[in-house]
């Protein structure tokens, strides 16, 4: 098993947001996590990435059999955990190229490998830019600075393509995208699906799941996963809304 979350509780300040999440993810799978706003979807992704704003108060997260919660943020990334940000951060003065070169070389250092040479890196980057049609012009600019919503999300998927994570949490990667950008971003994610990695897509809307077809759909509500089903569950949610789950007694 790639990731096993057992009874995970997490708080911000005094407020408990995750109230016992259980989730199992195997390599080769795509999971979608849906659910109403403010119920803990983004918190789950943040806790997996190691965001220190949140405190884990109970539970366990095993990643490749190791205790993920004991690892530093960068260690998790080097071990293959990736978070696609809902709100990617602007880093003025740091070009995408130097950001990615630093990240790749730090990850290589972590694995005891030599840094990638400049030429190899340039070719590698050029190849990966194609995944999301990231233009040369954009790649030279400072990370996310002055990017449109669509450009920021493309840049997230581009980084995922560069770093080749084993487990990617994509937090509302579809928010703020027009239909063309959505198609490109989703197409990029699909190119990155492999037998040896897993992708978790956090989304509000079924729309994204027309492009990225998940193996499992989970509903996260009130800090717990209250329902899990096949991809058709997303359609049912779209049609009936979350109140339907309430009526069913899941909520």
């Amino acid at each position: 098993m790639l990731l096993e979350i057992k009874d995970l509780h997490a708080s911000i300040g005094d407020k408990e947001i995750l109230k016992g999440v259980n989730l199992q993810i195997n390599a080769g799978e795509v999971h979608a996590i849906m659910g109403p706003n403010g119920n803990g979807k983004s918190t789950l992704a943040s806790v997996i990435a190691g965001n220190e704003l949140f405190t884990v108060t109970k539970g366990e997260v095993l990643y490749k059999g190791k205790n993920l919660l004991e690892m530093s943020i960068e260690e998790r990334a080097c071990e293959g955990v990736f978070l696609g940000f809902q709100y990617p951060v602007e880093i003025p003065g740091v070009s995408i190229a130097s950001f990615m070169r630093t990240a790749i070389n730090e990850q290589r250092k972590y694995h005891g490998q030599d840094p990638m040479d400049m030429l190899e890196f340039a070719q590698y980057m050029e190849e990966k830019q194609k995944v999301v049609e990231l233009t040369e012009n954009l790649a030279k600019r400072s990370v996310n600075e002055g990017f449109s919503g669509g450009e920021k999300k493309k840049n997230e998927i581009f980084q995922m393509a560069m770093l080749q994570p084993s487990l990617a949490f994509l937090d509302e990667t579809d928010s703020g995208l027009d239909i063309d950008a959505l198609r490109i971003v989703a197409g990029g994610v699909n190119q990155l699906r492999r037998k040896d990695n897993a992708i978790v897509v956090i989304t509000h809307y079924q729309r994204l799941l027309d492009y990225i077809v998940p193996d499992f759909v989970h509903v996260l509500a009130d800090g717990r996963i209250v329902k899990t089903g096949p991809k058709e569950l997303a359609l049912e949610l779209e049609e009936k809304g979350y109140d339907w789950l309430k009526a069913e007694g899941s909520l």
Binding site: G50, E74, A77, V89, G93, V94, F99, A103, S142, L163
Partner: protein, 360 residues
Amino acid sequence: MSKIESGAFRCDVSDLDTHSLIWLNGRLPDNLTARRPGLPWQVFREADGTLVVRVEEGVHVDKPLQIIVLCKKEIDCKALSSKQDFTLSLRVELERGAQLTVVHCIDSDMETEASVQGAVRLELAPAARLSWLSLQNINNRCRVTNDLQADVAAGAGLHTCFCSLNGGFLQNDQQINLNGVQAEASALGLYLVDGTQKVNNRVKINHNSPEARSRQLFKGILDDSASGRFEGHVLVASGAQKTEAYQTNRNLLLTKKAKFQTKPYLEIYADDVKCSHGATVGQLDEKALFYMRCRGISQATARRLLMYAFAAEVIREIGVAPLEDHLTRLVQRRLHGELAACEDCALHCTATKACANLPW
């Protein structure tokens, strides 16, 4: 920037090709003459000791004039008394349309205790262009006080940049008078200080004529118990319509003990102007650090990358490529903690004939 080896001065910026003029412990070379063949300027001393550099009308000086101010123990000359006090008086006159870049390096060895006062006058005739780049890298027992006054005529442009990398106390004052239409000034500053170092920048730009433009960009990183101050003042006179003036001061404090005061100030008596100012004193962006760590970049590297990016905004506007590269290396090493005060730039030399026959 510089070392003395076997009695000959050598600049550390190997690919920076300059005409150089060395000012050792307040003394100019004796062989300074009014006109030397092959030099694109006149240079002479006035009765009060002021050194004058004059570039004639329309002359574009091909390579920078490097003025190197050294505070250094002179081994086989008369010993320096415990504390030295030098005043370096300089006037640069650019006639109409002339162009010149001056690289003003203040270096010291590790031991000398000196106080250097620089009194600099810059006079730019119409359409002249002057870059004044000051690099300060001296030991913590040294003080530098620079007082720069500039008069910029119509259509002329002055670019100043003060890079303060090390020094016990560094004070850079400048007053730039934009006296003709479409005169331009950009005043930049970068300071990286640590320990108990102090750095103050005071800038006053007087917009005395219409359609002149000015910009100030000062950025600094303060570590340990370092402290500093920025006072930026733009005065737009009542007739100076269509003025554009922008002023920015940004500071990163790496510790709780580091202190910085910033006073941005616009004083405007004209009504058709574009002016802005902004000042910040803060820490590294935690969100950016998290974002970078999420990509596998260690916290230490992420911090360095952010600090370097912060400083680079000033470095890339210096306009002399070998100097930009050199400063990039110095700043990167400094941020790695590899560059203790003066280690790279200053004279830390063991040369025994340093003060004799310095070439210029």
